[in-house]
Amino acid sequence: MKRSVRAFAAFGAVAAVSLLATGCSSSSSTTTPTDKKLSIAFVMGAESDPFFQAMKVGAEAEAAAEGVDLIWQGDPKNYSPETQIPIVDTVLAQKPDGLVLIPTDPTALQASADKAIAQGIAVANVDTHVNDLSKVVTFITGDNADGGAKAADALATKIGYTAGKKYQVVIGLTSATATTNVARLEGFKAQVAAKYPGIEIKDVAYSESNPEKAASNVNNWLTKYPNLNGIFAIDGTNASGAASALEAKKLTGKIALVGYDAYPDNVAKVKSGIFTALIAQVPAEEARQAIKALVEYIKTGKTSVAHEVVIPNFAIDANTSDADLAKYTYVASK
């Protein structure tokens, strides 16, 4: 089994492997930071996630601006500590000056963070964090619970929420264990309980990261709940699937749809009225601040970036300015 997993990783990581190779060759020549370029390793969750792809754009831009080498690494597909820990080990063997780590598990990755710090490598956390943040230079994250609350507000506005009336809403998740999904769901539920008690969450379903399954879930809901008022599609995959299901049934604009993640394709659908609103995170900004903090810290022993930074989510709707659209739309890395 282990062998087959390795074979899978080896063949699947065509991109990652080649990146690793370039990373190896560039960092092997940068072991002494005083007379050579600084190198910052960035170990994220899963290469295939657009969120991390958008983050890569910010990381590359900031690394170029600061004049440091960036070693970008992560499993091609799996967001899990089993695949991430060996990647962190490999990266640490390249002796970077700094490490931006997105721990896929706060406990499992603690030892990796401790090991890096013991080697004198400055560590920052982005998006998620290890349990012990005391020796981490900074932790920068988006506020997913706030995003969930903003989604509830957008949905309530679209359906013309009136106190005393009842409304039916369903929520598409990717899985029960995705921590960002859970935080958004809790933020949504808390806001509904506080401000919109007439909104009833009729059902939740999982798409298992497959947009076609997300579309299928929405199709079934539309049949089961003919009076459905709104859908909260909690991530990019669910957003794509839900939008296409409404288009096929010619229900766009009739049922409020609030999605998540500003993929260019989804942002275009805000303009055309398919999405009521799209909650965007700012992954590129998170990466930028983390690299900035590490470079400052390595050079001067301190940083102007706070120890914990929470960047709020942003709700894109039809009235969002072009400047904000440009700022929040995820850009594909090349």
Binding site: F8, A13, G236, S244, K249, D265
Partner: protein, 336 residues
């Protein structure tokens, strides 16, 4: 007395018939779901199930050929993602059609996209065949490797984000949500499946497939070019997966790298529910068609009757196990 004996024999013949058992299972499921949630018995639900059926039955039919030949193809789900992304890239970035293209202008790029999609799938299928025939890697590992490669390539092509392109959502919509649950693309899929069925059951192609799966040494001794036929089978499975990639593209209006996630397991489940043996040599297209239908009837039904999402997977797993067990028992009875 003779009449009743004939009747018993008839009933026994019907019960031991694979297809009638599957139809029976489907009927029972439909009745149970309808009793709990009357809305289940509707054109809308039929349309939901058929729409889900369309993509998976294509890869499941390809998988049927592979499984009958004694192999397995794990790359089918990843091909859906890769072929969808590549054809979306060609339609949007090469041909210049976008999601804003009017529906009536979308047919030409969609046709080109279909050709690209099928070609991408066929190429991956050929790579599978080369790995299996030339390097002697077992199909499980060979197709696991191409699955990983396809996943990686689809992310490289798309940066992990869906690529929106031209579409006419009427192609995937029910012809009439009150009377006719079929969509244009589902009918096209049914035609492709029927042709594949003729190939498997009425042509030499199918005969060779069964022969290789039953005993590849005997097939070779009988003069069948086993390597050549295996190549054709994996290329067919790849091409059908590419077609499924285009189907999902039309469904979503975008090529998404994650659009085939986990579908290889759905396809294998459908083939096994349909009565094919993973040991090779046994299987029918009808079985796969009904197996896929059962799979999505269950998934739709569980949402319709409001089973908590955490329990859905368990229920689906139990149903698959029950379906396969029932068939094994029925085969034993048939042998007696």
């Amino acid at each position: 007395m003779t009449d009743s004996n004939q009747l018993v024999a008839k009933v026994r013949g019907l019960v031991s018939n694979q297809a009638s058992i599957l139809v029976g299972v489907l009927a029972v499921l439909t009745i149970v779901f309808t009793v709990i949630e009357p809305k289940f018995f509707s054109v809308a639900t039929a349309n939901n199930i058929l729409t889900d059926w369309g993509s998976v039955v294509l890869i499941a039919v390809g998988q049927t050929f592979v499984v009958i030949s004694g192999g397995i193809d794990l790359s089918v789900g990843a091909i859906i993602g890769l072929s969808g992304v590549v054809s979306a890239y060609v339609m949007a970035n090469v041909m210049g059609y976008t999601s804003g293209t009017p529906a009536q202008d979308a047919y030409w790029p969609l046709l080109v996209g279909t050709i690209v999609s099928v070609a991408v799938g066929a190429v991956v299928g050929l790579v599978n065949a080369v790995l299996i025939n030339k390097t002697r890697i077992v199909p499980f590992i060979a197709t696991l490797a191409t699955m990983g490669a396809c996943l990686g390539l689809s992310v490289i092509f798309s940066s992990g984000m869906p690529i929106g392109g031209p579409n006419d959502f009427n192609l995937i919509a029910a012809m009439d949500y009150n009377t006719n649950p079929f969509s244009v693309v589902v009918i096209l899929v049914a035609v492709v499946v029927a042709i594949a069925g003729l190939f498997l059951h009425k042509a030499r192609f199918g005969l060779y497939t069964y022969a290789i799966g039953s005993n590849s040494f005997a097939a070779r001794a009988a003069g069948i070019n086993v390597e050549k036929h295996i190549t054709k089978i994996y290329a067919l499975s790849g091409a059908l997966s590419g077609l499924a990639g285009m189907y999902v593209y039309i469904r979503l209006g975008a090529g998404s790298p994650s659009s085939g996630t986990g579908r290889e397991l759905d396809a294998i489940a459908a083939v096994v529910i349909g009565g094919a043996s993973l040991m090779g040599g046994v299987g029918r297209i009808w079985g796969t068609v009904l197996g896929t239908l059962i799979l999505f009837t269950v998934q739709s039904g569980l949402i319709m009757i409001g089973v908590a999402p955490d329990w859905k997977k368990v229920v689906v797993a139990v149903l698959i196990a029950a379906a396969v067990a029932a068939q094994t028992l029925q085969k034993k009875n048939g042998q007696r």
